[in-house]
C-alpha cells in the first residue's frame, strides 16, 4: 500500500473530542503505535489502520512532580505522578497517572507494575490523554 499524506494528528485529537482514544495498528505485524504515527516502529511497514485503544495499561515507574516539573496549569489534575505506562496493546509511553501522591507512593512502588486506565482529559482548548490508577 502506498503512503498517504493524511492528517493523523488532527484525527487523533478529533477522536478524543468524540470520546475515543485511538492509535494506529500495523497491518503487517499487528503492533500498535500510540500516539499514532505514519509507520510501524516494530517492522517498518507503513500500511496502518486506525484502532480504538482499550485503555487498560500498567505503570512501571513513579516520579512525583516537583518545583521544576509542575506548573500552575497542571493543578486541575489533582494528585498525580509521571511514569512509564505500557498499554494492553503493547505501546509504551511517558504519561501522567492521576491518584498518586507522597501518601501512597511507597505502597505503589512495592506493587509495581500497577494497573492504570486511560482517560480523556480537558486541557486549555483541547483534550488529551492521561491515566488513572485502576487498583
Amino acid at each position: 500500500m502506498s503512503i498517504k499524506l493524511e492528517k493523523v494528528v488532527e484525527k487523533f485529537y478529533q477522536n478524543l473530542e468524540e470520546g475515543k482514544i485511538t492509535g494506529r495498528k500495523c497491518c503487517a505485524c499487528g503492533a500498535v503505535e500510540f500516539p499514532p504515527v505514519y509507520a510501524c516502529n516494530e517492522c517498518g511497514c507503513w500500511d496502518m489502520e486506525w484502532v480504538e485503544i482499550d485503555g487498560e495499561a500498567t505503570m512501571h515507574s513513579i516520579v512525583l512532580p516537583a518545583a521544576l516539573s509542575s506548573k500552575p496549569d497542571y493543578k486541575p489534575l489533582g494528585k498525580y505522578a509521571y511514569g512509564e505506562v505500557v498499554l494492553k496493546e503493547g505501546s509504551r509511553l511517558n504519561a501522567v497517572v492521576r491518584g498518586i501522591s507522597k501518601k501512597n507512593r511507597a505502597e505503589l512502588l512495592e506493587k509495581l507494575p500497577v494497573k492504570v486506565k486511560a482517560g480523556i482529559y480537558q486541557r486549555d482548548g483541547y483534550k488529551t490523554v492521561v491515566f488513572d490508577l485502576d487498583e
Binding site: P35, N41, V63, A66, L68, S69, R92, L93
Partner: protein
C-alpha cells in the same frame, strides 16, 4: 531489545581521522563582567576556531570547510544562518560551511559531522566549532519584544530564567509530547528514579550520590581556569556556617528542585565557544607540519535518538549508542581511562558511566561517594567540572569536553591532570530530547 527501539550497525571509516587542534573560551556570564560584556558570536567562535588552528599548527588556508553548531541561534543571536554571519572572522571567507543544531548534544555531533566529512575523503582538514549564548540575549529585549526586535548591533542583556524555560519547550514535540505533559517533565528525575529502583538503593543514598557528583565536579572545576564556578562546596559550606560539606548540600541552600534532583545537580547555563581541527591522519605530515603533540584518533562514534514520549529515553538511547561504538571499535570498557558525560542533569554522569561499563553496574554510586570519580581518583569523570561547574554553553559544551579530553590525553592539564595518562577516552553526548552519541578517542602512537 526494548520494544520500539531500532538498531544500527556501524561500518569502519574509509580512512583514519584525528583531532589535531583544540580551542576553548572560558565559560562565562559575559554580560556580568565589564571585560566580556559586549562580546559577540563572531568573537567567541572566532577565538575558539583560531586557538584550535594555532594548537594544530595550521592556518585558515589549510582548512577546507567548517561546521558551525549552535543550539538556539535565533534566540541567542538573532540568526537563522549563523555559520554565514561569522564566516569572515577567522580567515575562511568564501569557504563552504554548514550550521547544525542538536541542542545540548550539538558539540558532540559536531565531531561526528567533521569526522564523517574527512573520513569520506571529500575534505582533508576541517574546522568544527560551536558557540552559545546561554546566559544572555541580544538587547534591548523588553516584555513586548520578540526574538526579531533587538536593534542594537552588539549589546546583550541577561537571559531571564522565565525566558530560558519558555524556550526549552521548543525541545519537545508539539503534537504529542507537550500535550501529554509527562514527556517533558520526566527529564529531571527519570534516570535517578530508574537507578534507585533497578539498583535497589534508597532515595537517601541517591541524594548523597547526587550531592557527591556536584562536589566532585566542583573539585575538578576549582583547578580549571576556563571553568565558570571555581569555589569548592567545602569552602562555601564553611562560609555559611556548616561544619561539613554534606550538611550544606542537604540544606535549604541546595533545595530539591525535582523529586530527587537538587539545585546543584543542574546545569549552570552560560556563554562560551569551543572548536577542533579534524584532519585525515594520513595527511597530517603535509597539512600540520608544525604539530607539536600526538594526534588524537577518533576510533568511532555511536548514535541513537529517543524522542521524549519514549520511556527512559536517555537510558535506552545511551545503551544503543554504547553498543554501537563498542561493536564497531572492539574497544572494551576496561580499556577506558577517562569518561565524560554531558551532565546538565547530573544523574547522567553516573548512569552513562555504568551503561558504558566504566563504572560497575550497581556500584557506580559508591565510587562517586568515595570521590573516586574526581580528577585525582582512579575513575575520573568530567575532569573539566561538568555542566554543573564548568558551565553549560549548550552547543559548545560537547566540544569543551573534547577539548578537555584531548588536553588530558596530552598530559597538559596541570593541577587537574589525572593520575594515569589517558590513552582511551569515551564521551557520551546527550541533549535535545534526546540525541545521544558516544565518541571513543585514542591517542595515536
Amino acid at each position: 531489545m526494548n520494544k520500539n527501539m531500532n538498531q544500527t550497525t556501524l561500518h569502519p571509516y574509509s580512512r583514519s581521522v584525528s583531532i589535531i587542534g583544540v580551542g576553548c573560551t572560558p565559560f562565562m556570564y559575559t554580560v556580568d563582567n565589564e571585560e566580556t560584556n559586549g562580546l559577540t558570536e563572531g568573537e567567541l567562535f572566532g577565538y575558539a576556531a583560531l586557538k584550535a588552528m594555532e594548537d594544530a599548527g595550521v592556518s585558515p588556508k589549510d582548512v577546507d570547510y567548517y561546521f558551525h553548531g549552535e543550539a538556539s541561534p535565533l534566540n541567542g543571536s538573532n540568526y537563522l544562518t549563523p555559520n554565514i554571519q561569522i564566516g569572515n572572522w577567522f580567515g575562511m571567507k568564501g569557504k563552504g560551511s554548514i550550521h547544525h543544531s542538536e541542542a545540548c548534544c550539538t558539540g558532540y555531533l559536531a565531531i561526528e559531522q567533521a569526522v564523517n566529512a574527512v573520513a569520506s575523503g571529500k575534505y582533508n582538514c576541517v574546522l568544527t566549532g560551536c558557540v552559545e549564548f546561554g546566559d544572555s540575549v541580544p538587547a534591548p529585549f523588553g516584555p513586548n519584544d520578540t526574538v526579531e526586535t533587538p536593534k542594537h548591533p552588539y549589546k546583550r542583556e541577561k537571559m531571564t530564567m522565565d525566558r530560558f524555560l519558555a524556550t526549552t519547550m521548543w525541545l519537545y514535540d508539539r503534537n504529542y509530547a507537550r500535550s501529554f505533559i509527562a514527556p517533558m517533565n520526566l527529564i529531571y528525575d527519570d534516570v535517578a528514579e530508574d537507578y534507585v529502583r533497578t539498583r535497589k538503593i534508597t532515595p537517601e543514598q541517591m541524594d548523597d550520590t547526587l550531592n557527591w557528583m556536584a562536589i566532585n565536579n566542583r573539585r575538578n572545576a576549582a583547578k580549571n581556569p576556563l571553568a565558570l564556578e571555581r569555589k569548592e562546596f567545602a569552602e562555601i559550606a564553611k562560609e555559611k556556617g556548616f561544619d561539613n560539606v554534606m550538611d550544606y548540600m542537604r540544606s535549604p541552600y541546595n533545595p530539591k528542585m525535582g523529586d530527587l534532583l537538587r539545585m546543584e545537580g543542574m546545569e549552570r547555563k552560560c556563554d562560551g565557544a569551543a572548536a577542533c581541527i579534524v584532519c585525515a591522519t594520513e595527511m597530517i605530515p603535509q597539512i600540520a607540519r608544525n604539530l607539536k603533540h600526538k594526534p588524537i584518533e577518533v576510533l568511532g562514534i555511536g548514535s541513537a535518538a529517543c524522542e521524549s514520549t519514549n520511556p527512559h529515553f536517555e537510558i535506552r538511547a545511551t545503551e544503543e549508542a554504547v553498543r554501537q561504538v563498542y561493536e564497531l571499535t572492539g574497544v572494551k570498557p576496561e580499556e577506558l581511562d577517562l569518561f565524560f558525560a554531558n551532565d546538565f542533569i547530573i544523574t547522567s554522569h553516573l548512569y552513562a558511566a555504568e551503561v558504558a561499563g566504566y563504572l560497575p553496574y550497581g556500584e557506580g554510586w559508591k565510587y562517586i561517594c568515595e570521590g573516586r570519580t574526581a580528577y585525582d581518583g582512579d575513575k575520573p569523570i568530567n575532569t573539566n567540572g561538568g555542566r554543573t561547574s564548568f558551565g553549560h554553553a549548550h552547543a559548545a559544551s560537547g566540544l569543551a569536553d573534547v577539548y578537555e579530553a584531548c588536553m588530558q590525553m596530552r598530559g597538559a592539564c596541570g593541577e587537574r591532570q589525572v593520575k594515569k595518562l589517558p590513552r582511551t577516552t569515551m564521551l557520551r553526548g546527550y541533549g535535545g530530547s534526546q540525541n545521544v552519541c558516544t565518541i571513543i578517542l585514542r591517542t595515536k602512537d
